[in-house]
Protein backbone atom coordinates (compact mmCIF):
# COMPACT_ATOMS: atom_id res chain seq x y z
CA UNK A 1 0.00 0.00 0.00
CA UNK A 2 1.31 3.43 -1.02
CA UNK A 3 -0.30 6.50 0.51
CA UNK A 4 -0.33 9.65 -1.62
CA UNK A 5 -1.17 13.09 -0.26
CA UNK A 6 -2.53 15.79 -2.59
CA UNK A 7 -3.32 18.84 -0.52
CA UNK A 8 -4.50 20.81 -3.58
CA UNK A 9 -6.75 18.08 -4.94
CA UNK A 10 -8.68 19.32 -7.98
CA UNK A 11 -11.32 18.34 -10.47
CA UNK A 12 -9.56 18.24 -13.85
CA UNK A 13 -12.10 19.07 -16.56
CA UNK A 14 -11.19 18.58 -20.23
CA UNK A 15 -13.26 20.28 -22.94
CA UNK A 16 -12.63 19.05 -26.47
CA UNK A 17 -13.49 21.46 -29.33
CA UNK A 18 -12.74 21.12 -33.05
CA UNK A 19 -11.25 24.62 -33.08
CA UNK A 20 -10.85 27.16 -30.28
CA UNK A 21 -12.12 30.55 -31.54
CA UNK A 22 -11.82 33.43 -29.06
CA UNK A 23 -15.11 35.34 -28.89
CA UNK A 24 -17.21 32.38 -30.07
CA UNK A 25 -19.43 29.98 -28.13
CA UNK A 26 -18.41 26.32 -28.36
CA UNK A 27 -20.42 23.20 -27.64
CA UNK A 28 -17.93 20.93 -25.93
CA UNK A 29 -17.35 17.26 -25.22
CA UNK A 30 -16.50 16.82 -21.54
CA UNK A 31 -14.18 14.54 -19.60
CA UNK A 32 -13.56 15.09 -15.95
CA UNK A 33 -11.63 13.34 -13.28
CA UNK A 34 -9.97 13.90 -9.98
CA UNK A 35 -6.65 15.67 -10.45
CA UNK A 36 -3.54 16.75 -8.66
CA UNK A 37 -0.08 15.24 -8.63
CA UNK A 38 -0.68 12.68 -5.88
CA UNK A 39 -3.83 11.48 -7.63
CA UNK A 40 -1.83 10.90 -10.82
CA UNK A 41 0.79 9.00 -8.81
CA UNK A 42 -1.89 6.79 -7.26
CA UNK A 43 -3.36 5.99 -10.69
CA UNK A 44 0.05 4.89 -12.01
CA UNK A 45 0.88 2.91 -8.86
CA UNK A 46 -2.42 1.02 -9.08
CA UNK A 47 -1.95 0.30 -12.77
CA UNK A 48 1.39 -1.27 -11.81
CA UNK A 49 -0.38 -3.61 -9.40
CA UNK A 50 0.27 -1.99 -6.03
CA UNK A 51 -2.50 -0.68 -3.78
CA UNK A 52 -2.63 3.08 -3.34
CA UNK A 53 -4.86 5.41 -1.38
CA UNK A 54 -5.40 9.11 -2.08
CA UNK A 55 -5.45 11.56 0.84
CA UNK A 56 -6.21 15.26 0.56
CA UNK A 57 -8.74 18.00 1.14
CA UNK A 58 -12.09 17.93 -0.64
CA UNK A 59 -15.00 20.30 -0.28
CA UNK A 60 -18.28 21.34 -1.84
CA UNK A 61 -19.97 20.07 -4.96
CA UNK A 62 -16.72 20.01 -6.93
CA UNK A 63 -15.04 17.99 -4.20
CA UNK A 64 -17.88 15.47 -4.35
CA UNK A 65 -17.48 15.21 -8.14
CA UNK A 66 -13.76 14.52 -7.74
CA UNK A 67 -14.35 11.86 -5.07
CA UNK A 68 -17.12 10.24 -7.12
CA UNK A 69 -14.73 9.89 -10.04
CA UNK A 70 -12.05 8.30 -7.84
CA UNK A 71 -14.64 5.85 -6.56
CA UNK A 72 -15.77 4.92 -10.06
CA UNK A 73 -12.09 4.47 -11.04
CA UNK A 74 -11.63 2.10 -8.09
CA UNK A 75 -9.10 4.32 -6.32
CA UNK A 76 -9.66 4.43 -2.56
CA UNK A 77 -9.65 7.91 -1.08
CA UNK A 78 -9.49 9.17 2.48
CA UNK A 79 -10.66 12.71 1.89
CA UNK A 80 -10.56 15.33 4.61
CA UNK A 81 -13.69 17.47 4.35
CA UNK A 82 -13.24 21.24 4.16
CA UNK A 83 -15.69 24.12 4.23
CA UNK A 84 -14.13 25.59 1.07
CA UNK A 85 -14.83 24.48 -2.46
CA UNK A 86 -12.40 22.18 -4.30
CA UNK A 87 -10.99 23.93 -7.36
CA UNK A 88 -11.41 22.98 -11.00
CA UNK A 89 -8.75 23.08 -13.67
CA UNK A 90 -10.27 23.37 -17.13
CA UNK A 91 -8.19 22.36 -20.18
CA UNK A 92 -9.71 23.28 -23.54
CA UNK A 93 -8.19 20.98 -26.15
CA UNK A 94 -8.28 22.24 -29.74
CA UNK A 95 -8.39 18.90 -31.54
CA UNK A 96 -7.30 20.42 -34.89
CA UNK A 97 -4.29 22.27 -33.52
CA UNK A 98 -3.60 19.57 -30.90
CA UNK A 99 -3.15 22.42 -28.44
CA UNK A 100 -4.46 22.77 -24.87
CA UNK A 101 -5.47 26.06 -23.25
CA UNK A 102 -5.68 25.93 -19.47
CA UNK A 103 -7.84 27.76 -16.94
CA UNK A 104 -6.90 27.17 -13.31
CA UNK A 105 -9.23 28.22 -10.55
CA UNK A 106 -7.70 29.34 -7.26
CA UNK A 107 -7.78 26.62 -4.61
CA UNK A 108 -9.72 26.87 -1.35
CA UNK A 109 -8.17 28.03 1.92
CA UNK A 110 -7.92 25.50 4.73
CA UNK A 111 -8.49 26.11 8.44
CA UNK A 112 -6.19 25.01 11.28
CA UNK A 113 -8.81 22.47 12.37
CA UNK A 114 -9.06 21.01 8.86
CA UNK A 115 -5.27 20.71 8.67
CA UNK A 116 -5.24 18.92 12.06
CA UNK A 117 -7.92 16.54 10.79
CA UNK A 118 -5.92 15.80 7.65
CA UNK A 119 -2.89 14.91 9.77
CA UNK A 120 -4.99 12.41 11.74
CA UNK A 121 -6.51 11.03 8.52
CA UNK A 122 -3.08 10.50 6.94
CA UNK A 123 -1.76 8.92 10.15
CA UNK A 124 -4.65 6.49 10.02
CA UNK A 125 -3.65 5.43 6.51
CA UNK A 126 0.06 5.13 7.38
CA UNK A 127 -0.51 1.97 9.44
CA UNK A 128 0.80 -0.81 7.22
CA UNK A 129 1.79 1.57 4.40
CA UNK A 130 5.06 0.95 2.55
CA UNK A 131 5.64 4.49 1.28
CA UNK A 132 4.15 7.95 1.60
CA UNK A 133 4.14 10.29 -1.41
CA UNK A 134 3.82 14.04 -0.82
CA UNK A 135 3.17 15.93 -4.06
CA UNK A 136 2.35 19.38 -5.24
CA UNK A 137 1.64 22.84 -3.91
CA UNK A 138 0.19 23.79 -0.54
CA UNK A 139 -3.25 25.34 -0.20
CA UNK A 140 -3.61 28.63 1.65
CA UNK A 141 -4.01 28.14 5.39
CA UNK A 142 -1.68 25.14 5.65
CA UNK A 143 1.63 25.76 7.48
CA UNK A 144 4.60 26.40 5.20
CA UNK A 145 6.42 23.40 6.70
CA UNK A 146 3.42 21.10 6.09
CA UNK A 147 5.56 18.52 4.30
CA UNK A 148 8.11 18.43 7.14
CA UNK A 149 5.26 17.79 9.61
CA UNK A 150 3.91 14.98 7.42
CA UNK A 151 7.45 13.52 7.11
CA UNK A 152 7.68 13.42 10.90
CA UNK A 153 4.38 11.56 11.19
CA UNK A 154 5.58 9.09 8.55
CA UNK A 155 8.87 8.60 10.42
CA UNK A 156 6.94 7.77 13.61
CA UNK A 157 5.01 5.16 11.61
CA UNK A 158 8.22 3.83 10.03
CA UNK A 159 7.09 4.75 6.50
CA UNK A 160 9.60 6.25 4.02
CA UNK A 161 8.62 9.42 2.14
CA UNK A 162 8.95 10.58 -1.48
CA UNK A 163 8.60 14.37 -1.72
CA UNK A 164 7.77 16.16 -5.00
CA UNK A 165 7.29 19.87 -4.39
CA UNK A 166 8.87 23.18 -5.25
CA UNK A 167 9.68 26.56 -3.76
CA UNK A 168 9.10 27.02 -0.05
CA UNK A 169 7.02 23.83 0.24
CA UNK A 170 10.13 21.90 -0.87
CA UNK A 171 12.67 24.00 1.01
CA UNK A 172 10.83 23.77 4.34
CA UNK A 173 9.81 20.16 3.72
CA UNK A 174 13.46 19.07 3.64
CA UNK A 175 13.63 19.51 7.42
CA UNK A 176 11.52 16.33 7.62
CA UNK A 177 14.45 14.35 6.04
CA UNK A 178 12.41 12.66 3.29
CA UNK A 179 13.90 9.48 1.86
CA UNK A 180 13.64 10.63 -1.79
CA UNK A 181 13.15 14.13 -3.20
CA UNK A 182 12.26 14.55 -6.88
CA UNK A 183 12.69 18.06 -8.24
CA UNK A 184 12.75 18.90 -11.92
CA UNK A 185 15.59 20.99 -13.30
CA UNK A 186 13.85 24.35 -12.69
CA UNK A 187 12.67 23.45 -9.18
CA UNK A 188 16.15 22.30 -8.25
CA UNK A 189 17.78 25.45 -9.63
CA UNK A 190 15.29 27.72 -7.85
CA UNK A 191 15.70 26.10 -4.44
CA UNK A 192 19.47 25.59 -4.56
CA UNK A 193 20.46 28.67 -6.57
CA UNK A 194 22.69 26.61 -8.88
CA UNK A 195 22.05 25.41 -12.42
CA UNK A 196 24.40 22.43 -11.89
CA UNK A 197 22.20 19.40 -11.31
CA UNK A 198 24.58 17.29 -9.25
CA UNK A 199 25.71 20.26 -7.22
CA UNK A 200 22.05 21.16 -6.62
CA UNK A 201 21.24 17.58 -5.63
CA UNK A 202 24.15 17.59 -3.17
CA UNK A 203 22.79 20.79 -1.59
CA UNK A 204 19.31 19.27 -1.20
CA UNK A 205 20.95 16.34 0.58
CA UNK A 206 22.77 18.73 2.91
CA UNK A 207 19.38 20.31 3.68
CA UNK A 208 17.79 17.00 4.65
CA UNK A 209 17.00 14.84 1.59
CA UNK A 210 18.39 11.31 1.87
CA UNK A 211 18.38 10.82 -1.90
CA UNK A 212 17.66 13.19 -4.77
CA UNK A 213 16.34 12.21 -8.19
CA UNK A 214 16.26 15.16 -10.57
CA UNK A 215 14.03 14.79 -13.63
CA UNK A 216 15.51 16.48 -16.69
CA UNK A 217 12.74 15.97 -19.24
CA UNK A 218 14.05 14.42 -22.46
CA UNK A 219 17.49 14.11 -20.83
CA UNK A 220 16.26 11.53 -18.34
CA UNK A 221 17.15 11.46 -14.66
CA UNK A 222 20.10 12.07 -12.38
CA UNK A 223 20.06 10.35 -8.98
CA UNK A 224 22.36 11.23 -6.09
CA UNK A 225 22.06 8.83 -3.14
CA UNK A 226 24.04 7.41 -0.21
CA UNK A 227 24.72 4.34 -2.32
CA UNK A 228 25.98 6.15 -5.38
CA UNK A 229 25.01 8.43 -8.26
CA UNK A 230 23.44 7.45 -11.58
CA UNK A 231 22.29 8.90 -14.83
CA UNK A 232 19.29 7.21 -16.46
CA UNK A 233 18.24 7.88 -20.06
CA UNK A 234 15.22 6.76 -22.07
CA UNK A 235 15.68 4.27 -24.92
CA UNK A 236 14.39 6.84 -27.42
CA UNK A 237 12.86 10.33 -27.32
CA UNK A 238 9.25 10.56 -26.10
CA UNK A 239 6.61 12.53 -28.02
CA UNK A 240 3.30 13.67 -26.61
CA UNK A 241 1.93 15.38 -23.53
CA UNK A 242 4.52 15.95 -20.80
CA UNK A 243 1.84 16.63 -18.14
CA UNK A 244 2.03 13.80 -15.63
CA UNK A 245 5.50 12.62 -16.67
CA UNK A 246 6.97 13.76 -13.36
CA UNK A 247 4.17 12.01 -11.48
CA UNK A 248 5.04 8.77 -13.29
CA UNK A 249 8.66 9.17 -12.12
CA UNK A 250 7.42 9.63 -8.54
CA UNK A 251 5.20 6.55 -8.85
CA UNK A 252 8.19 4.45 -9.96
CA UNK A 253 10.38 5.82 -7.16
CA UNK A 254 7.70 5.13 -4.54
CA UNK A 255 7.22 1.59 -5.82
CA UNK A 256 10.97 0.97 -5.87
CA UNK A 257 11.20 2.26 -2.31
CA UNK A 258 8.20 0.19 -1.16
CA UNK A 259 9.61 -2.94 -2.80
CA UNK A 260 13.20 -2.16 -1.77
CA UNK A 261 14.56 -2.47 -5.32
CA UNK A 262 18.18 -1.55 -6.19
CA UNK A 263 18.61 2.04 -7.40
CA UNK A 264 19.50 1.25 -11.04
CA UNK A 265 16.28 -0.75 -11.37
CA UNK A 266 14.20 2.04 -9.81
CA UNK A 267 15.72 4.55 -12.21
CA UNK A 268 15.20 2.40 -15.32
CA UNK A 269 11.55 1.98 -14.26
CA UNK A 270 11.25 5.72 -13.69
CA UNK A 271 12.57 6.82 -17.10
CA UNK A 272 10.51 4.17 -18.85
CA UNK A 273 7.29 5.13 -17.05
CA UNK A 274 7.97 8.81 -17.60
CA UNK A 275 8.34 8.34 -21.36
CA UNK A 276 5.27 6.08 -21.43
CA UNK A 277 3.29 8.76 -19.59
CA UNK A 278 4.30 11.34 -22.21
CA UNK A 279 2.90 8.98 -24.86
CA UNK A 280 -0.52 8.82 -23.09
CA UNK A 281 -3.08 11.60 -23.44
CA UNK A 282 -4.04 11.96 -19.76
CA UNK A 283 -1.94 12.60 -16.66
CA UNK A 284 -2.03 9.50 -14.45
CA UNK A 285 -2.08 7.09 -17.36
CA UNK A 286 0.75 5.65 -19.46
CA UNK A 287 1.10 3.79 -22.73
CA UNK A 288 1.75 0.17 -21.86
CA UNK A 289 3.54 -0.77 -25.13
CA UNK A 290 5.78 2.28 -24.90
CA UNK A 291 6.51 1.43 -21.26
CA UNK A 292 7.77 -2.03 -22.21
CA UNK A 293 9.81 -0.72 -25.16
CA UNK A 294 11.41 1.97 -22.99
CA UNK A 295 11.98 -0.43 -20.10
CA UNK A 296 13.87 -2.81 -22.38
CA UNK A 297 16.09 -0.05 -23.78
CA UNK A 298 16.56 2.39 -20.90
CA UNK A 299 20.19 2.98 -19.91
CA UNK A 300 21.46 3.58 -16.38
CA UNK A 301 25.05 4.75 -16.06
CA UNK A 302 26.96 4.96 -12.78
CA UNK A 303 28.38 8.43 -12.20
CA UNK A 304 31.73 8.89 -10.45
CA UNK A 305 31.13 9.92 -6.84
CA UNK A 306 33.17 13.10 -6.93
CA UNK A 307 32.18 14.49 -10.33
CA UNK A 308 30.49 17.85 -10.15
CA UNK A 309 29.67 19.96 -13.19
CA UNK A 310 26.76 18.08 -14.72
CA UNK A 311 24.35 20.69 -16.15
Amino acid sequence: MIVTVTLNLALDVTYRVPRLTPGATHRVAVDQRAGGKGVNVARVVRTLGEDAVVCGFAGGGTGRLALAELESAGIPARATAIGGETRRTVAVVDTQAGEATGFWEPGPAVTDAEWATLLRDVEGELRGARALVLSGSLPAGVPGDAYAVLCERAALAGVPVVLDADGDALRLGLAGTPEVVKPNREELATVTATADVREGAARLRELGARSVVASLGADGLVAVTEEGSWRARPAHPAAGNATGAGDAVVAALALGLARNRPWPERLAEAVALSSAAVAAPLAGSFDDDEYHRQRAGASVETLPMAAVGEG
Copy 2:
Protein backbone atom coordinates in the same frame (compact mmCIF):
# COMPACT_ATOMS: atom_id res chain seq x y z
CA MET B 1 -45.69 34.60 -6.67
CA ILE B 2 -44.36 33.85 -10.14
CA VAL B 3 -43.24 30.32 -10.93
CA THR B 4 -40.44 29.92 -13.48
CA VAL B 5 -39.51 26.61 -15.10
CA THR B 6 -35.99 26.08 -16.44
CA LEU B 7 -35.73 22.52 -17.69
CA ASN B 8 -32.11 23.00 -18.79
CA LEU B 9 -30.94 24.58 -15.55
CA ALA B 10 -27.17 25.14 -15.61
CA LEU B 11 -24.27 26.32 -13.52
CA ASP B 12 -22.98 29.44 -15.25
CA VAL B 13 -19.25 29.77 -14.54
CA THR B 14 -17.41 32.97 -15.46
CA TYR B 15 -13.61 32.98 -15.66
CA ARG B 16 -12.00 36.40 -15.87
CA VAL B 17 -8.51 36.61 -17.44
CA PRO B 18 -6.48 39.69 -18.38
CA ARG B 19 -5.88 38.25 -21.84
CA LEU B 20 -7.03 34.95 -23.40
CA THR B 21 -4.02 33.31 -25.06
CA PRO B 22 -4.74 30.02 -26.86
CA GLY B 23 -2.16 27.42 -25.83
CA ALA B 24 -1.32 29.12 -22.52
CA THR B 25 -2.39 28.29 -18.97
CA HIS B 26 -4.33 31.04 -17.19
CA ARG B 27 -4.97 31.56 -13.50
CA VAL B 28 -8.54 32.76 -13.38
CA ALA B 29 -10.88 34.67 -11.11
CA VAL B 30 -14.13 32.72 -10.77
CA ASP B 31 -17.78 33.70 -10.47
CA GLN B 32 -20.46 31.10 -10.64
CA ARG B 33 -24.17 31.08 -10.28
CA ALA B 34 -27.25 29.15 -11.28
CA GLY B 35 -28.12 29.85 -14.89
CA GLY B 36 -30.76 29.29 -17.49
CA LYS B 37 -33.42 31.63 -18.83
CA GLY B 38 -36.04 30.97 -16.14
CA VAL B 39 -33.45 31.55 -13.42
CA ASN B 40 -32.63 34.94 -14.93
CA VAL B 41 -36.35 35.77 -15.06
CA ALA B 42 -36.75 34.86 -11.38
CA ARG B 43 -33.81 37.09 -10.40
CA VAL B 44 -35.33 40.09 -12.21
CA VAL B 45 -38.83 39.41 -10.83
CA ARG B 46 -37.51 39.27 -7.28
CA THR B 47 -35.47 42.45 -7.73
CA LEU B 48 -38.73 44.12 -8.75
CA GLY B 49 -40.36 43.08 -5.48
CA GLU B 50 -42.43 40.06 -6.48
CA ASP B 51 -41.85 36.57 -5.10
CA ALA B 52 -40.56 34.00 -7.57
CA VAL B 53 -39.68 30.34 -7.34
CA VAL B 54 -37.38 28.43 -9.69
CA CYS B 55 -38.40 24.95 -10.88
CA GLY B 56 -36.26 22.65 -13.00
CA PHE B 57 -34.07 19.58 -13.07
CA ALA B 58 -30.89 19.44 -10.99
CA GLY B 59 -28.48 16.57 -10.59
CA GLY B 60 -25.05 15.67 -9.30
CA GLY B 61 -22.39 17.86 -7.75
CA THR B 62 -22.92 20.62 -10.32
CA GLY B 63 -26.65 20.62 -9.60
CA ARG B 64 -25.90 21.01 -5.91
CA LEU B 65 -23.60 23.96 -6.65
CA ALA B 66 -26.33 25.66 -8.67
CA LEU B 67 -28.93 25.13 -5.95
CA ALA B 68 -26.54 26.32 -3.25
CA GLU B 69 -26.02 29.56 -5.17
CA LEU B 70 -29.78 30.09 -5.53
CA GLU B 71 -30.16 29.57 -1.80
CA SER B 72 -27.42 32.04 -0.97
CA ALA B 73 -29.07 34.54 -3.36
CA GLY B 74 -32.37 34.09 -1.50
CA ILE B 75 -34.18 32.62 -4.50
CA PRO B 76 -36.45 29.71 -3.53
CA ALA B 77 -36.07 26.65 -5.75
CA ARG B 78 -38.15 23.52 -6.11
CA ALA B 79 -35.62 21.34 -7.91
CA THR B 80 -36.52 17.98 -9.34
CA ALA B 81 -33.65 15.58 -8.72
CA ILE B 82 -32.24 13.69 -11.70
CA GLY B 83 -29.68 10.92 -12.01
CA GLY B 84 -27.78 12.91 -14.66
CA GLU B 85 -25.34 15.69 -13.99
CA THR B 86 -26.40 19.32 -14.38
CA ARG B 87 -24.35 20.99 -17.11
CA ARG B 88 -21.95 23.89 -16.78
CA THR B 89 -21.58 26.80 -19.15
CA VAL B 90 -18.14 28.38 -18.90
CA ALA B 91 -17.64 31.94 -20.16
CA VAL B 92 -14.02 33.09 -20.33
CA VAL B 93 -14.02 36.89 -20.24
CA ASP B 94 -10.94 38.56 -21.70
CA THR B 95 -10.98 41.75 -19.65
CA GLN B 96 -8.65 43.62 -22.05
CA ALA B 97 -10.61 42.81 -25.19
CA GLY B 98 -13.96 42.90 -23.35
CA GLU B 99 -14.76 39.69 -25.18
CA ALA B 100 -16.35 36.47 -23.90
CA THR B 101 -15.53 32.98 -25.18
CA GLY B 102 -18.12 30.38 -24.28
CA PHE B 103 -17.89 26.65 -23.59
CA TRP B 104 -21.23 24.89 -23.21
CA GLU B 105 -21.39 21.39 -21.85
CA PRO B 106 -24.12 19.10 -23.14
CA GLY B 107 -27.06 18.88 -20.75
CA PRO B 108 -28.14 15.66 -19.01
CA ALA B 109 -30.87 13.39 -20.35
CA VAL B 110 -34.01 13.05 -18.27
CA THR B 111 -36.04 9.88 -17.67
CA ASP B 112 -39.82 9.55 -17.99
CA ALA B 113 -40.09 9.16 -14.24
CA GLU B 114 -38.07 12.33 -13.63
CA TRP B 115 -40.28 14.25 -16.06
CA ALA B 116 -43.41 12.97 -14.26
CA THR B 117 -41.90 14.11 -10.95
CA LEU B 118 -41.17 17.56 -12.36
CA LEU B 119 -44.80 17.91 -13.45
CA ARG B 120 -45.94 17.12 -9.90
CA ASP B 121 -43.37 19.51 -8.44
CA VAL B 122 -44.50 22.36 -10.72
CA GLU B 123 -48.16 21.61 -9.95
CA GLY B 124 -47.35 21.90 -6.27
CA GLU B 125 -45.90 25.39 -6.83
CA LEU B 126 -48.82 26.53 -9.01
CA ARG B 127 -51.20 26.70 -6.04
CA GLY B 128 -51.55 30.42 -5.38
CA ALA B 129 -49.19 31.39 -8.23
CA ARG B 130 -50.06 34.43 -10.35
CA ALA B 131 -48.09 33.47 -13.47
CA LEU B 132 -46.02 30.58 -14.84
CA VAL B 133 -42.96 31.31 -16.98
CA LEU B 134 -41.68 28.57 -19.30
CA SER B 135 -38.26 29.43 -20.71
CA GLY B 136 -35.56 27.88 -22.81
CA SER B 137 -34.67 24.65 -24.49
CA LEU B 138 -35.80 21.14 -23.58
CA PRO B 139 -33.39 18.53 -22.25
CA ALA B 140 -33.11 15.16 -23.99
CA GLY B 141 -35.71 12.70 -22.74
CA VAL B 142 -38.46 15.27 -22.17
CA PRO B 143 -41.44 15.03 -24.59
CA GLY B 144 -41.35 17.50 -27.49
CA ASP B 145 -44.68 18.99 -26.37
CA ALA B 146 -43.43 19.48 -22.80
CA TYR B 147 -44.46 23.14 -22.77
CA ALA B 148 -48.00 22.31 -23.96
CA VAL B 149 -48.30 19.77 -21.12
CA LEU B 150 -47.11 22.36 -18.60
CA CYS B 151 -49.56 24.93 -20.05
CA GLU B 152 -52.41 22.46 -19.50
CA ARG B 153 -51.42 21.94 -15.86
CA ALA B 154 -51.28 25.71 -15.41
CA ALA B 155 -54.73 26.11 -17.00
CA LEU B 156 -56.15 23.58 -14.54
CA ALA B 157 -54.69 25.66 -11.72
CA GLY B 158 -56.00 28.89 -13.28
CA VAL B 159 -52.48 30.31 -13.75
CA PRO B 160 -51.62 32.22 -16.97
CA VAL B 161 -48.43 31.25 -18.84
CA VAL B 162 -45.62 33.22 -20.51
CA LEU B 163 -43.73 31.02 -22.98
CA ASP B 164 -40.23 31.89 -24.23
CA ALA B 165 -38.85 29.10 -26.40
CA ASP B 166 -37.85 28.43 -29.97
CA GLY B 167 -38.00 25.77 -32.66
CA ASP B 168 -40.06 22.68 -31.92
CA ALA B 169 -40.33 23.47 -28.21
CA LEU B 170 -42.17 26.67 -29.16
CA ARG B 171 -44.13 25.21 -32.08
CA LEU B 172 -45.46 22.27 -30.07
CA GLY B 173 -45.90 24.38 -26.95
CA LEU B 174 -48.44 26.63 -28.70
CA ALA B 175 -51.01 23.83 -28.48
CA GLY B 176 -51.20 24.64 -24.74
CA THR B 177 -52.59 28.14 -25.65
CA PRO B 178 -50.15 30.16 -23.53
CA GLU B 179 -51.33 33.65 -22.56
CA VAL B 180 -48.15 35.37 -23.83
CA VAL B 181 -45.47 34.10 -26.19
CA LYS B 182 -42.19 36.05 -26.51
CA PRO B 183 -40.09 35.10 -29.52
CA ASN B 184 -37.21 37.19 -30.77
CA ARG B 185 -37.05 38.12 -34.45
CA GLU B 186 -35.13 35.01 -35.52
CA GLU B 187 -37.23 32.59 -33.46
CA LEU B 188 -40.40 34.10 -34.88
CA ALA B 189 -39.14 33.90 -38.47
CA THR B 190 -38.00 30.29 -38.03
CA VAL B 191 -41.27 29.04 -36.59
CA THR B 192 -43.62 31.02 -38.85
CA ALA B 193 -41.56 31.03 -42.07
CA THR B 194 -42.06 34.76 -42.54
CA ALA B 195 -39.70 37.65 -41.87
CA ASP B 196 -42.66 40.02 -41.30
CA VAL B 197 -42.98 40.45 -37.54
CA ARG B 198 -46.70 41.29 -37.34
CA GLU B 199 -47.60 38.59 -39.84
CA GLY B 200 -45.50 36.10 -37.87
CA ALA B 201 -47.17 37.18 -34.63
CA ALA B 202 -50.59 36.69 -36.21
CA ARG B 203 -49.58 33.17 -37.23
CA LEU B 204 -48.42 32.32 -33.70
CA ARG B 205 -51.82 33.49 -32.46
CA GLU B 206 -53.56 31.24 -35.00
CA LEU B 207 -51.46 28.36 -33.66
CA GLY B 208 -52.55 28.96 -30.06
CA ALA B 209 -50.80 31.99 -28.52
CA ARG B 210 -53.25 34.47 -26.95
CA SER B 211 -50.79 37.35 -27.24
CA VAL B 212 -47.41 37.65 -28.91
CA VAL B 213 -44.63 40.02 -27.90
CA ALA B 214 -41.74 39.93 -30.35
CA SER B 215 -38.43 41.31 -29.08
CA LEU B 216 -36.48 43.08 -31.82
CA GLY B 217 -33.26 43.98 -30.00
CA ALA B 218 -32.42 47.66 -30.36
CA ASP B 219 -35.71 48.16 -32.26
CA GLY B 220 -37.75 47.42 -29.13
CA LEU B 221 -40.90 45.28 -29.06
CA VAL B 222 -43.98 44.60 -31.13
CA ALA B 223 -47.03 43.23 -29.29
CA VAL B 224 -50.05 41.69 -31.00
CA THR B 225 -52.90 40.92 -28.58
CA GLU B 226 -56.70 40.56 -28.42
CA GLU B 227 -56.88 44.11 -27.12
CA GLY B 228 -54.73 45.71 -29.80
CA SER B 229 -51.22 45.98 -31.21
CA TRP B 230 -48.37 48.17 -30.03
CA ARG B 231 -44.84 49.11 -30.83
CA ALA B 232 -42.59 49.93 -27.86
CA ARG B 233 -39.20 51.58 -28.23
CA PRO B 234 -36.47 52.37 -25.69
CA ALA B 235 -35.74 55.99 -24.75
CA HIS B 236 -32.20 55.67 -26.11
CA PRO B 237 -29.97 52.91 -27.48
CA ALA B 238 -28.60 50.40 -24.97
CA ALA B 239 -24.91 49.47 -24.87
CA GLY B 240 -23.48 46.41 -23.17
CA ASN B 241 -24.12 42.70 -22.89
CA ALA B 242 -27.34 41.59 -24.61
CA THR B 243 -27.35 38.21 -22.77
CA GLY B 244 -30.36 38.20 -20.48
CA ALA B 245 -32.16 41.10 -22.21
CA GLY B 246 -34.88 38.74 -23.45
CA ASP B 247 -35.24 37.29 -19.96
CA ALA B 248 -35.80 40.81 -18.59
CA VAL B 249 -38.58 41.28 -21.16
CA VAL B 250 -40.17 38.03 -20.01
CA ALA B 251 -39.91 39.10 -16.37
CA ALA B 252 -41.73 42.36 -17.16
CA LEU B 253 -44.42 40.54 -19.14
CA ALA B 254 -44.97 38.00 -16.35
CA LEU B 255 -45.20 40.75 -13.75
CA GLY B 256 -47.65 42.74 -15.91
CA LEU B 257 -49.74 39.62 -16.35
CA ALA B 258 -49.62 38.75 -12.64
CA ARG B 259 -50.57 42.33 -11.69
CA ASN B 260 -53.09 42.69 -14.54
CA ARG B 261 -51.51 45.89 -15.86
CA PRO B 262 -52.67 47.48 -19.15
CA TRP B 263 -50.61 46.41 -22.19
CA PRO B 264 -48.91 49.75 -22.87
CA GLU B 265 -47.62 49.79 -19.29
CA ARG B 266 -46.34 46.20 -19.56
CA LEU B 267 -44.52 47.05 -22.78
CA ALA B 268 -42.93 50.22 -21.44
CA GLU B 269 -41.70 48.19 -18.47
CA ALA B 270 -40.41 45.49 -20.79
CA VAL B 271 -38.34 47.77 -23.06
CA ALA B 272 -36.99 49.66 -20.08
CA LEU B 273 -35.96 46.49 -18.24
CA SER B 274 -34.49 45.01 -21.39
CA SER B 275 -32.27 48.05 -21.96
CA ALA B 276 -31.33 48.12 -18.27
CA ALA B 277 -30.37 44.41 -18.48
CA VAL B 278 -28.08 45.17 -21.44
CA ALA B 279 -26.36 47.79 -19.28
CA ALA B 280 -25.65 45.22 -16.51
CA PRO B 281 -22.76 42.73 -16.77
CA LEU B 282 -24.63 39.56 -15.70
CA ALA B 283 -27.78 37.93 -17.06
CA GLY B 284 -30.53 38.18 -14.46
CA SER B 285 -29.45 41.60 -13.22
CA PHE B 286 -30.22 45.08 -14.52
CA ASP B 287 -28.88 48.59 -14.02
CA ASP B 288 -31.35 50.39 -11.76
CA ASP B 289 -30.48 53.93 -12.89
CA GLU B 290 -30.73 52.95 -16.55
CA TYR B 291 -34.05 51.25 -15.81
CA HIS B 292 -35.53 54.45 -14.41
CA ARG B 293 -34.13 56.59 -17.25
CA GLN B 294 -35.51 54.19 -19.86
CA ARG B 295 -38.83 53.83 -18.07
CA ALA B 296 -39.33 57.61 -18.08
CA GLY B 297 -38.54 57.92 -21.80
CA ALA B 298 -39.84 54.67 -23.35
CA SER B 299 -42.43 55.19 -26.10
CA VAL B 300 -45.40 52.93 -26.78
CA GLU B 301 -47.26 53.53 -30.02
CA THR B 302 -50.61 51.95 -30.92
CA LEU B 303 -50.46 50.11 -34.24
CA PRO B 304 -53.48 50.06 -36.56
CA MET B 305 -55.25 46.70 -36.25
CA ALA B 306 -55.13 45.78 -39.94
CA ALA B 307 -51.64 46.87 -40.81
CA VAL B 308 -49.36 44.08 -41.93
CA GLY B 309 -45.91 44.64 -43.34
CA GLU B 310 -43.84 45.50 -40.27
CA GLY B 311 -40.43 43.98 -40.75
